[in-house]
């Protein structure tokens, strides 16, 4: 069963992934047993109790109690899967991963039809953002006057992560509901405007050659199908090189209004050693 399912499922490259797949495999075993069991019964009955073979039906019908065991069995198995697997897995899914390294904090702001990734830069602090500053050159509306913003940088449709380093993605949306899916990480989370939902996972493999993707899983308009991003998981060194190669946010030209009006709360992240 595991082989069968995994032959279709994408690579599993996250720390929590195997546990999820495990549950998927188990529940499919349950389904398979029920399906095969009942199908065999079904086929036999169709053969045995056709009008030609059994001209007169019995008024009482089946007197066996096997079925009630089956029903109780289903119930018991469901309880086990819930208490033993699904519920604990869920609480793990919504709590930050503990890793040897300090977590990498990233903001992902989705919009029709792109993923804006906001890195806090070496200081690990996100600059404040302001919807009035949003422009083509500054899709996140990062406020350059904020010292925290000085070293921030952002990329579009490109997610760069470090292997074995826990990731915290602060997920939100500008316009409509999207759903941030990383099939290889077994990660999926709706990105809902007006809400900021944290996503926790830890990549445990690097791409080495494979194309890993960000997929949009929630209908978000005519470009939903092409709202695709790519994800690269670097080695520790590779990640630092990539960091170094990134330019901070471009200065916004004077024409854009001074930061006023509605502002998103600044997301504080624990300061981390500049490697």
């Amino acid at each position: 069963m595991r082989e069968f399912l995994e032959s279709y499922m994408p690579t599993n490259a996250s720390a929590h992934g195997p546990a999820l797949d495990n549950l998927t495999v188990l529940i499919h075993w349950v389904m398979a047993v029920l399906f095969v069991g009942w199908s065999l019964y079904f086929i036999y009955v169709l053969y045995r109790f056709s009008a030609s073979r059994n001209p007169r039906a019995s008024y009482e019908g089946s007197k066996s109690h096997v079925h009630s065991y089956a029903e109780v069995g289903v119930a018991v198995v469901e309880v086990v899967l819930l208490i033993g697997f699904s519920i604990p897995l869920w609480s793990r899914w919504i709590t930050p991963d503990q890793g040897s390294k300090p977590p990498l904090e990233i903001r992902v702001v989705s919009e029709q039809f792109a993923w804006n990734v906001h890195y806090p830069g070496p200081d690990g602090r996100f600059g404040r953002t302001d919807i009035n500053l949003v422009s083509a050159s500054n899709p996140l509306g990062i406020d350059p006057t904020d010292p925290n913003a000085a070293d921030d940088f952002n990329s579009v449709n490109q997610l760069h992560l470090e292997v074995d380093r826990p990731v915290v993605i602060r997920l939100t949306a500008k316009d409509v509901i999207h759903s941030f899916a990383l099939p290889v990480m077994r990660v999926k989370q709706d990105a809902i405007p007006g809400m900021e939902i944290p996503v926790y996972f830890t990549p445990v493999k690097t791409n080495n050659g494979e194309v890993w993707e960000i997929a949009c899983a929630q209908l978000c308009g005519l470009g939903h199908y092409r709202m695709r991003g790519s994800m690269t998981v670097h080695t520790a060194e590779g990640f630092q090189e990539w960091l170094a190669s990134q330019a901070p946010v471009p200065e916004v030209d004077a024409t854009t209004a001074p930061p006023t009006g509605v502002t998103e709360p600044v997301v504080e992240a624990p300061p981390q050693p500049v490697a």
């Binding site: 549950l23 399906f35 019908g61 029903e71 316009d175 409509v176 077994r186 809400m195």
Partner: protein, 632 residues
């Protein structure tokens, strides 16, 4: 043999043919009387008889035809989409002509058109095809007959619900013509997308409000009819299972639809009055700050929508289960196994379906407690379904099965619903749902329950009750061709969806996932799936021919061609009396499925619900036995 059969009409005993005559005579006499009283339907003129009819039977037929046409239409929308899924971006020459250059320039379907077709496919199939067919058509036609009632409790209301439904359908169809086309935000219409969407969405909302109103009127009518108009002696535990299914369904419609109506009104206001019920602050669409007060909650819509839409899915399945149960009981020639258990399970299912809705929303940022609650309720609700299905399976044990077309569809329903139901379980476990949510796995799951599930049950019902409505049987050969082809093709369409889902392919993708590397290993499957879909349409041709042809050429049959026990067959003619259904309101003496009960004979292995006891001096349903007793 059959010549020895006697049927009780009024006080006297007649052979089937004589009984037939007598009943038809009864019709004639009744018509005569009505003519004298001047309240005869057939003299109220064409309009009152065929268009604004208040007779539940005719309204049922109106529902059936309309719903079947919508079913076909919804299917055709999907057939166009399946082309785009199989061959993304390649032109289909006639599309430009069919949908207009705006939707398909040069025959290449545009993304917005794909979304439009998808949203309308879902809406039409659920709200305009299956529910009206399952409830409006089957329920309307059969419930009063099965409970021995002269009509629905509120005939005028009944007529109204049909016409409000028709109006809602018309609005949905017209919305294809408005600028930028019909709704494009999915049948779920999640805001903010649906609020900023083009005018079609407003039409969708107005249409929905009509459909909801129609369902509410209908459900009140069904409930009152079933509670108030049961024939003397027909206690709740003697109701045919189909009536029970309709009863619980009506409750679901009555209580689940209003929240969606509320939500619809709010979304309508968001669109036309610029309120912000579902619009959060600080939206930026296409680089422009949205001028709205803000402060609303997009998730609120999802709660209200799914509070309806989950019970709604049981509205799609319960009448189907009812039909399958009737067909199976009749063609296995034995009572349903565990009738009471099935009834209690159905009621329990009804209750539970109000507390599982958020299993559609696991990924909207849910805490452990809430997700645990909804996972648990979701697992709990699977148990009654298991019980019902198990009972149906066990009903086959010790039976004497007749494999006619209705029975074939009913039998095929069982494993098909089984597959659909079983694949609901991984989705119900939140942790497993993380990977499967909004993938084709979900599409596969619910299509197995609604397409080879519900649609097959509807087919079983059509083949089974056709003689009731027309007095003629549908052609068995065509029926069997229709069945086997449909069974094969429909599985070829939907089975690969589970694989696509496991691979992580999102649903509602214009190119079926062509953009994505992780989709490519399994994307080829789309081509056979699409071919199967088009062949499935061809497979419906024998049915359509059969359906219309049999009205004229179908084999003429007696009132009770299937030797059934329930009153719609046993207590009145086929087709039933025009107005009032029964020559005299029957009195019920026993349960609905007395097949091969003690006292029955090999020639006559069934006792109608309304037949008097065999113990009675005149032999009740078995006069020849009484005669034998006396001679002895």
């Amino acid at each position: 043999m059959t010549s020895r059969r006697q049927i009780r009409v009024g006080k006297s005993w007649l052979s089937p043919s004589e009984a037939e005559k007598a009943l038809r005579e009864a019709i004639r006499v009744q018509k005569e009387e009505e003519r004298q009283h001047g309240d005869d339907h057939h003299h109220q003129g064409f309009i009152k008889t065929y268009i604004f009819s208040t007779d539940h039977k005719w309204i049922g037929i109106q529902y059936a035809i309309t719903a079947l046409l919508f079913l076909l239409f919804g299917f055709c929308l999907m057939l166009i989409m399946r082309w785009q899924l199989a061959f993304p971006g390649s032109p289909l020459p006639f599309l430009a002509g069919l949908l207009g250059e705006a939707r398909a320039p040069g025959g290449i379907l545009l993304p917005e058109a794909y979304n439009e077709l998808g949203a309308m496919h879902g809406t039409i199939m659920v709200f305009l095809a299956i529910v009206p067919l399952a409830v409006g058509a089957f329920g309307n036609y059969l419930v009063p007959l099965q409970i021995g009632a002269p009509d629905m409790a509120f005939p005028k209301l009944n007529m109204m619900s049909y016409w409000v439904y028709a109006a809602g359908g018309a609005i949905m169809l017209l919305s294809f013509l408005v600028p930028a086309g019909a709704a494009q935000s999915g049948w779920t219409s999640y805001p903010p997308l649906s609020v900023i969407a083009s005018a079609g969405q407003t039409w969708w909302l107005v249409g929905m409000i009509f459909l909801i109103t129609s369902s509410l009127l209908g459900s009140v009518n069904f409930l009152v009819t079933i509670i108030q108009l049961r024939a003397p002696g027909l206690t709740f535990m003697k109701l045919p299972f189909f009536v029970w299914a309709q009863f619980v369904t009506a409750f679901l419609l009555l209580l689940a639809f209003p929240p969606l109506e509320a939500a619809g009104i709010m979304q309508l206001m968001d669109r036309v009055m610029d309120t912000s019920f579902f619009m959060p602050s600080g939206l930026i669409v296409g680089g422009q700050i949205v001028e709205a007060a803000g402060g609303g909650s997009p998730v609120l819509w999802q709660h209200l929508f799914w509070f309806l839409a989950h019970p709604e899915v049981y509205v799609l399945i319960l009448p189907a289960l009812g039909i399958v149960a009737e067909v199976i009981a009749n063609n296995t020639r034995k009572p349903l196994w565990g009738y009471r258990a099935m009834v209690y399970a159905t009621i329990f299912l009804g209750f539970m379906s109000f507390v599982v809705w958020a299993h559609h929303m696991f990924l909207t940022g849910m805490g452990t407690t809430i997700s645990a609650f909804f996972q648990t309720t979701t697992m709990i609700i699977s148990i009654p379904s298991v019980i019902i299905l198990t009972s149906l399976f066990l009903s086959l044990w010790g039976s004497s099965m007749r494999f006619n077309t209705p029975m074939l569809f009913a039998l095929a329903f069982l494993p098909m619903f089984g597959i659909g139901g079983l694949t609901g379980l991984p989705l119900g476990l939140a942790a497993a749902d993380i990977h499967l949510h909004d993938t084709y796995y979900v599409i596969g799951h619910f299509h197995y329950v609604v397409a080879p599930g519900t649609i097959f049950a509807m087919m079983a019902g059509i083949y089974f009750w056709y003689p009731k409505v027309t007095g003629r049987k549908m052609n068995e050969k065509l029926g069997k061709i229709h069945f086997w082809l449909s069974l094969v093709f429909i599985n070829v369409i939907f089975a690969p969806m589970f694989i696509q889902g496991l691979a992580g392919i999102s649903r509602r993708l214009y190119d079926g996932g062509d953009q994505y590397a992780h989709a490519h290993p399994v994307l080829k499957t789309n081509i056979p799936m699409s071919y199967a879909a088009w062949l499935l349409l061809l497979a419906q041709i024998p049915f359509i021919i059969n359906f219309f042809g049999s009205i004229k050429w179908g084999e003429k049959v007696g009132s009770n061609p299937w030797d059934a026990t329930t009153m719609e067959w046993a207590a009145t003619t086929s087709p039933p009396l025009a107005h009032g259904n029964f020559a005299e309101i029957p009195v019920v003496h026993r349960g609905p499925y007395e097949y091969n009960a003690p006292g029955t004979t090999a020639e006559r292995d069934f006792i109608p619900q309304h037949a008097a006891d065999p113990e009675t001096p005149d032999g009740g349903f078995f006069p020849e036995q009484a005669v034998a007793k006396q001679e002895a």
